[in-house]
Symmetry: C2
Subunit: 373 residues, 2 copies
């Protein structure tokens, strides 16, 4: 949720600089205020709570690993559901609070909190269950699942279960006043710039017009090309949603998720509306595994919803100018998402949209690049 | 202005990790939007413009070093004022914009832009003038003056001049509604916390009350102990202001500025008012040097001012609860500021205030620690 992605995280050989990674990413998770925000997300809490307590068969007498335990909540529930032993790994000093929370709830004989990164920590044994709340905006922002994969490959027994077991990414076309708002903000910034150019020339004798193009590019990127967080209303979805990625948490590799590519179609379902951009969200499922399924399958979805919004919201990719479409218009969409070179926890997204109107008219391809910061 | 101070910048031997320093500090300066904010500060621009063009004796035919050139403005003015050669050093990719700005203003034969840190860069010669806009909030936040000292010790001729030549830090007692606002915010956060504790116990069976103390400390630090940016109105100053530090830019060492300590008194000048905290600001002067003085001494002040506010504002250190004082009440104040261990660009401030009321009553010492983040 909190990483701002300013510094270059990776070196030329690809290795991640841990100090920079901490400065950019991990640090916000060390704040109780941030943990509380996530603990107050009822949809998130209910899903994990139910996935554990309605599937005690997976926990009773078992060993569990909680990857990125934060305050320790999932580890504590796992212990309360009957686990024999729980290893709760946390990279930040939040681990100290997790440790005192475990003790205050009398679970110190079951839950062992370990401070360190999942890549470095050493457990005394392999585990029956790996549980983790690793999902970032649009699922993969923060690239925390890499750490879950690492944990799985090192510490999950061959018969072990992943919580959640599956994840999916969704994309749908939307309408939104944000596209006008951001365009106005951009225009305002450029008007202001031209006034600034005049002032600087007249008052200070320096011609800064050469910087207009890079300034406009910087503002364009900031206002128009950076994905936005929003909790959309379902009536903002104007066409069919499509799955752009499916992940089996038991078998996925880092390579499987490094690049997400998909081509899909979406039919506009709303009469006479404006196609203002695309929304991305995710869902995860707790199904256990084929050989050892969950007694009660649980789903956690972050799709637009009137009452059950989550702290993840959806990621909004605005397309300006919006295009007037009608019920039955067809969108052929190519979607591609890769990690930013400067910071593997942030993403670059490319959309290519071909609109076929109900009249038969086919509009030229709209291609746009976005940044998930 | 922009550094957020999240990651640990220094290692155990004191060396600064450059990647972390970039992620925490330098990165915001690479944005044109941020440069423009500073270029739009008329008070700042006028002071530097006047200091150069009203003191052409220091620039005509001379060599100049601009430390942290940003967009290149000071380097450009120095060249326009007649400098023979200007070296403009900039640590971020903003140097590329500075280079194109120099060229667009036909000064490429005079101004050479060098990308790199002042600590690493190598100049072909020593210089007559070092000019730099290095001041952070309350003067020393960002600790950029360290780089100016480094530049001076390596590259300034024995007869050379510093622009600015002198700097001072000021503190005064203030009144401000912010103290009530922040206290309300803190109380709101704690009320919310207690509701959260109940919900978590009732809905999810986990007792998080053990975290109340660390959560309260975290909120207290955030709302009540972190200095605020504000552009105060002069009528918010309720007593005499005092100089807590004076710096001669020609001779100051890093050790001189690592710790700022001062004891001073302030007499309340306003009738029946509330002492709500202290404000800190700075001024700098362009006086040249004794052997080679400025023809026109220029001052740049960030003191509270109705019309001439700057982007630096003042730093506000709130004291809750506020104390009722009257005209003639006396404050004996001990002030101490040191660098944060985790990040040398951020500060820790300690205040010790003894109030003597006009009635003769002397209140117990008010001691408080603050963080300049």
């Amino acid at each position: 949720m909190g990483s701002r992605g300013n510094g270059v995280v990776g070196s030329s050989n690809g290795a991640v600089d841990k100090g920079v990674d901490f400065a950019n990413y991990f640090c916000t998770y060390a704040f109780l205020y941030h943990q509380k925000e996530m603990l107050c997300d009822r949809v998130r809490m209910d899903a994990y709570f139910n996935s554990i307590f309605q599937n005690k068969n997976h926990f009773q007498g078992k060993t569990v690993l909680d990857v990125g335990t934060g305050s320790g909540i999932l580890a504590i529930w796992s212990a309360q559901a009957g686990a024999r032993k729980v290893y709760a790994v946390e990279a930040t000093k939040m681990s100290e609070h997790a440790r005192s929370l475990v003790k205050a709830n009398n679970l110190q004989d079951i839950v062992e909190v370990l401070e360190g990164s999942m890549e470095d920590v050493v457990l005394p044994e392999k585990v029956d269950v790996i549980i983790s709340e690793w999902m970032g905006y649009f699922l993969l922002r923060e690239s925390m699942f890499d750490s879950v994969i690492c944990a799985r490959d090192r510490w999950l027994k061959p018969t072990g279960v992943m919580y959640p077991s599956h994840a999916r990414m969704w994309v749908a076309p939307i309408r939104s006043g944000l596209v006008d708002q951001k365009k106005n903000d951009y225009d305002g910034a450029m008007d202001d710039w031209y006034g600034f150019l005049d002032d600087t020339k007249n008052s200070y004798g320096v011609d800064m017009s050469i910087l207009t193009t890079p300034f406009a590019e910087e503002q364009e990127k900031y206002y128009m090309q950076t994905s936005l967080w929003s909790n959309l209303h379902p009536n903002q979805l104007i066409g069919t949603a499509a799955i752009v990625k499916e992940i089996d948490c038991l078998t996925a590799t880092v390579n499987d998720i490094r690049e997400v590519k998909s081509t899909f179609s979406s039919t506009i379902s709303m009469e006479q509306t404006r196609f203002c951009g695309l929304a991305g969200w995710f869902d995860v499922h707790f199904r256990g595994r084929i050989e050892d399924p969950a007694q009660q399958e649980i789903e956690l979805t972050t799709a637009p919803n009137t009452n059950n919004g989550t702290h993840w919201g959806q990621q909004v990719f605005l397309l300006h100018p919006p295009v007037h479409v009608d019920q039955g218009s067809n969108l052929d969409i190519s979607f591609s998402m890769i990690r930013s070179k400067e910071n593997h926890r942030l993403m670059e997204v490319d959309f290519d949209v071909k609109i076929s109107q109900t009249s038969g008219k086919i509009l030229p391809s709209i291609k746009k690049k976005f940044y998930i910061e």
